[in-house]
């Protein structure tokens, strides 16, 4: 498949994304809408609020239980059967074990405190040893029981097919049903929160069709609801002691998509004392109950809040792809000279003169990393030159995959230079995965073989200085190149030449003149120019009018 065709396929796939929005009318000052989130289960609420909210102004959102919701959580006959069977089975299996475990725990704790006491009392060694033996016996008994119970509970989960889901579903249904029966169908959807805590991330205006509330817009508040909080009805009364499954206080249940919810908002004014602390006598004072209307959360096919992301990701990608295609047609694209690259020949030449090997490190990251790829690219070139000069090349590796690729690249380099016989496969070897044993081993090789030139390309961590300083101590010419900004200072201080950050990639493009690298580098330059333009334009806008934030809004992720 040619690249053009792949590009077309990509565009087609993207165009297939149907975009749709959905909103439900609500009272004038309140706006309700579904918002895109992964499960399509969130509801966005924004409303007008007089005055500026403070920490003391509380609010909560409630929703009305309806048949649709109840129906969703209702267990089918079969599910019910599965759950009951599994519970019965579990309590049958676990029942006696639980008692045994708690008595074993008590015995173990006793034995442990006896042992501790004996040590504190400095009893004779033989007695302490006896107590220690007892403790370990008790400990093993307890562990065995504990393991058995855990295994049974795991089996329970397997038997009920995602057993926990089924349990939660049953508990939720019980709760909703209870709420329906009691007539108090309004249940809490969002815990009480201070009014001042609502809002969106940062300030932005309407862009790409997304209308989020503005924080500067004093009276408009913005909030999303995505779950209902279901208190466990059995917490206090029935602590599931027959099955040993632990209990919990409340469960957040995600809103179910495609069900119509009726929402209500309660606002609470500031209480005299701490409103959140009933013990202080205050308690929140209910100020107002606003009916918000109904809304149906729907999963969107496209998350509109990610529009600017899509635009930028596509834009940058297309620029880069376009320049790669251009570079294939015309590989003579201009790239500025990179200081440090001239030194490569000098270093290799010196190694030949001294009859000593050249050492090349590809960094400590895996093959999937860009810096490693760049390092390997440069290695191919360096290998060719080394073959010309008839020196030895040593390449220790931290990653076995990198090692195999490095072998192939060097072999190719030697072959291109017309000296395939000089290639020695076991000079390119794997040392170890561990960072510091790798460093230790590499430093050992440096001290023993005293290479005349050392190339430190790719990504390095803390070992950078250890490697570079050992190399400097052996008197080798060192050329470093890394995009690990934490380590760059050390290379700058200890090495003869250093390629800083992206210069590493540029160097690999510069040396290989490969259209892919050249084009990609050019594309990145254009993207960079774009970013610089945005920075400059926004700065100019600010000078004219501090309120104009077009470019800032454009790049602020939602």
């Amino acid at each position: 498949m040619g690249m053009g065709k792949r590009l077309l396929a990509c565009m087609a796939l993207l165009l297939l994304l149907p975009l749709h929005a959905y909103a439900v009318p609500a009272p004038a000052d309140v706006e309700l809408s579904d918002v895109a989130n992964d499960e399509g289960n969130a509801v966005a609420i924004s409303w007008d609020w007089d005055g500026s909210p403070t920490e003391a102004d509380q609010f909560s959102v409630e929703l009305r239980v309806n048949d649709q919701l109840l129906k969703h959580f209702e267990l089918s006959q079969q599910e019910m059967q599965t759950l009951t069977d599994a519970r019965n089975w579990l309590s049958g299996e676990v029942g006696t074990l639980l008692d045994q475990r708690s008595s074993a725990k008590a015995e173990m704790d006793q034995a442990q405190s006896d042992l501790d006491q004996s040590i504190i009392d400095k009893l004779p060694g033989s007695e302490v040893a006896g107590l220690r033996r007892t403790y370990w016996q008790k400990y093993r008994v307890f562990r065995r029981l504990d393991k058995q119970i855990a295994a049974l509970q795991a089996k329970f989960a397997a038997r009920t097919y995602k057993g926990e889901d089924l349990r939660l579903k049953a508990l939720t249904w019980e709760f909703l049903n209870e709420a329906m029966r009691n007539g108090g169908e309004w249940i809490s959807a969002a815990a009480m929160a201070p009014m001042a805590s609502v809002g969106t991330k940062g300030a932005r205006t309407d862009l790409f069709g997304v209308n989020a509330a503005r924080r500067n817009d004093a009276g408009r508040l913005y909030f999303t609801v995505d779950s209902i909080s279901v208190p466990n009805p059995g917490t206090a009364a029935s602590d599931d002691s027959s099955t040993g499954l632990e209990q919990f206080a409340s469960i957040p249940i995600n809103l179910v998509p495609d069900i119509e919810y009726q929402l209500r908002m309660s606002t609470y004014g500031a209480a005299e004392s701490n409103p959140m602390d009933p013990a202080a006598g205050g308690g929140p004072q209910l100020a107002e109950q606003i009916s918000l209307g109904t809304v149906t959360p729907r999963g969107n096919a496209f998350d509109k809040s990610k529009t600017n992301n899509l635009v930028f990701a596509l834009l940058f990608s297309m620029i880069i792809l376009a320049f790669i295609i251009l570079a294939r047609r015309n590989p003579n694209m201009f790239i500025r000279r990179i200081a440090g690259l001239e030194a490569v020949d000098e270093a290799i030449g010196r190694a030949t003169e001294m009859g000593k090997p050249v050492m090349y490190l590809t960094g400590l990251q895996s093959l999937s990393e860009l810096s490693t790829l760049a390092a390997i690219n440069i290695l191919g070139r360096v290998a060719g030159k080394i073959a010309d000069y008839e020196s030895d090349l040593i390449v220790p590796n931290r990653d076995p995959v990198v090692q195999t690729v490095a072998q192939e690249v060097v072999k190719e380099g030697y072959a291109t230079a017309g000296r395939p016989d000089a290639y020695r496969e076991d000079n390119i070897f794997f040392l170890t995965d561990d960072q510091f044993s790798f460093t230790a081993a590499t430093c050992g090789i440096m001290m023993r073989d005293k290479p005349a030139a050392i190339f430190l390309m790719g990504y390095y961590y803390a070992e950078s200085l250890l490697l570079a300083e050992t190399g400097a101590a052996t008197g080798a010419i060192q050329i470093a190149g890394t995009d690990a900004e934490h380590q760059l200072p050390f290379f700058i201080v200890t090495c003869d030449y250093t390629l800083i950050g992206e210069e590493l990639y540029a160097a690999s493009a510069y040396l290989s003149r490969e259209p892919m690298l050249l084009g990609s580098l050019k594309g990145q330059d254009i993207a960079k120019a774009l970013m610089m333009a945005i920075i400059l334009l926004q700065a100019i806008l600010f000078i004219f009018n501090g309120e104009w934030k077009f470019f800032k809004d454009m790049v602020t992720p939602l």
């Binding site: 496209f302 992301n309 990701a313 192939e408 200085l465 400097a472």
Partner: protein
């Protein structure tokens, strides 16, 4: 065969890449499940990739012993230590005097970890302190404007971020400006500014470039232009 070796991997990479990319913009259960499943698969694949390293290491040391290369005797140490660790981790029985489960506190495995691995790794790392001191002494010269800047910034950071910096700052006389009291030398203020303004800004400039590179490499991989990760050969 050529299709299997060349085209198929590229097609897999393309389909997987595009799917995972588009998935990000689609809020639905399918997309979440896709992400979840993919990430779990990756975790398993990466787990196996780690074993590859061990195989290569053993291969390397076995070869060293067989060829009787210089220092081959030490390879026995490596292999013996490896075997011991494997034995401690995988042995199906309890070691007398150690905890019963092989990863628990007090097990032989943990004992080996605590008393051999930790000290050796930590020491290897701490040797850096000596090297950094000697490197600073030997190589840190105000040769050029760049080197001087690096030097001055480093010195301010070195003094300013340890307790002695506070001592020095508090010992210097103060002056009044805009109604606030300032010390003539205030390392906390200086280092804070250095880190938050020039340092953060320069790093941001570098990072923006790095992110673009990451985007570029992702795009190249997805569209099958970048194939180095697959290895050479046919």
């Amino acid at each position: 065969m050529i299709f299997l070796k060349r085209q198929l991997p590229i097609i897999i990479a393309f389909v997987a890449g595009i799917m995972m990319w588009i998935r990000y913009y689609i809020p639905s259960e399918v997309s979440t499940n896709l992400e979840d499943g993919y990430l779990e698969w990756v975790r398993i694949i990466v787990g196996f990739a780690a074993i590859l390293g061990i195989l290569s290491l053993l291969q390397h040391h076995m070869l060293k012993i067989r060829m009787k290369r210089p220092g081959f005797a030490f390879s026995y140490v490596t292999i013996a230590a490896f075997a011991l660790m494997m034995f401690a981790g995988f042995a199906p029985f309890n070691f007398p005097g150690f905890a019963e489960k092989n990863m628990e506190t007090g097990s032989l495995f943990n004992w080996l970890y605590e008393f051999t691995f930790i000290p050796m790794q930590a020491t290897m790392f701490s040797v850096l302190a000596f090297f950094i001191a000697s490197a600073a002494f030997r190589a840190f010269r105000a040769r050029s404007m760049e080197a001087t800047l690096l030097l001055v910034a480093a010195i301010i950071m070195m003094v300013g971020r340890v307790p002695i910096g506070d001592l020095i700052s508090n010992a210097t006389p103060t002056f009044m400006m805009f109604g606030n009291e300032y010390h003539f030398i205030d390392f906390e203020e200086w280092t804070g500014w250095l880190l938050n303004v020039p340092n953060a800004a320069a790093k941001r400039g570098i990072l923006l470039g790095v992110y673009l590179s990451q985007i570029a490499i992702s795009i190249r991989i997805i569209f099958g232009i970048e194939r180095t990760y697959m290895g050479g050969g046919d």
